[in-house]
Amino acid sequence: MGDLTGGTLTAPSPVRPAALDVPKASSELTLGDKLGALRMRLNIGRYRYRVEPGLYRLGEPGPSSPVLVTCNYKLTFDVVRSALPGLDAWLLVIDTKGINVWCAAGKGTFGTKELCERVLKANLYEVVDHTTLVLPQLGAPGVAAHEVQQFTGFRVVYGPVRIDDLPAFLDAGMKATPEMRSATFDLRERFVLTGVELSVAWQLKTLAILVAVALASGVVGLSYSWHSLLVRGGAAVLTALVGLLAGAFVTPLLLPWLPFRAFSAKGALVGAVFGIGLSALLFDSIGSLAAPAVALATVVFASYAAMNFTGTSPITSPSGVEHEMRRAIPWQIAGAVVSVGLWIVSAFI
């Protein structure tokens, strides 16, 4: 249904009047965008990184160009627009309160109602001459495709999981290969995601607890020792950091090669290796009671941190995570109690 009033018959159909005010989304990222992405990966201000919802132009789209739907988390918006240089498309950004597609779909904010409202608000009927919306596949938990079609007349096609596959998907006539449909979790993907896990280390709450523990470590028997504050306090802080490193960084990287299905067990194993090493290093300065406390605490920290990585992985079911937690948490609590007990007793002997 090309508009014949403008241009020639052979030229691509001209942009319709309704599309003239649509803002352009550049496919090039600025330095600010890149620094912003790094900030997000390190979990600094991650919940306030948004773009205005609505329709955007990618390249020079016309009435027959595809409509791609995404969320308004700016990191996602940037990944999408920079992955598609040379592609002419409409980008319909829906309001997910600045949350990525997968998490927002789980909550239902990347959902049927919001999508339908955005289609109407953007007046897509006047902008394009077709009735197809391409959604990210990982948005499917929040969107009922058949309901969207009922309410808006637009047919939902789920695109590939990864935006990099989108050009091939479009070229193939909107057909995805099984690979394009599968969530992956390769080494690079796991590495990128560890930043948010490690960010516990630079949160104020954590720093406050570490300082408190270090100060308490100055207590020796009934007196206070600055030497003990340095040695025992330093050991305590080091234990927490090594445990976190083992559970939130090393375990995620080694995930597929570690035995056990439970993430907490994988973390405990890595924690044991690091904990034994650390307590051997500290043995001479902290003594034979505090050294096993250090090893055990490292195991507990690592196990707990690794367990939390379940939320980041695309393989864990909620039923499975709950099953794991009911088995792991009693052990983690027991380990923590024994470790703290040893640590306190060691201050008085």
């Binding site: 309160k97 499917a140 969107v143 597929p256 393989i315 079911s317 039923s319 499975g320």
Partner: protein, 98 residues
Amino acid sequence: MSGLRYYEDVVTLQFDADKCTGCRRCVEVCPRGVFEMRDKRAFVADRGACMECGACERNCAYGALSVDAGVGCAAAIIRGWLTGTEPSCDCGGGSECC
């Protein structure tokens, strides 16, 4: 996928083959390759891979699929236990998120 498997026996996915019309939607939305087409109907080929995201149930117009969908995230489940509510990422609330 890199041989990573999780607890498989606790998966809550249910499929009613009698209601299936063979529209392929579940094959399209599942990010874990749980479904295949066999004899013009969906077939649960790898139930243990299911991560209970709920995409298939939400997109099955014929009610052939059901799953206890939710967030497979320890922090969210702990929050659910503590507050007595459904596990939720609480994304956007300024706290920890999956």
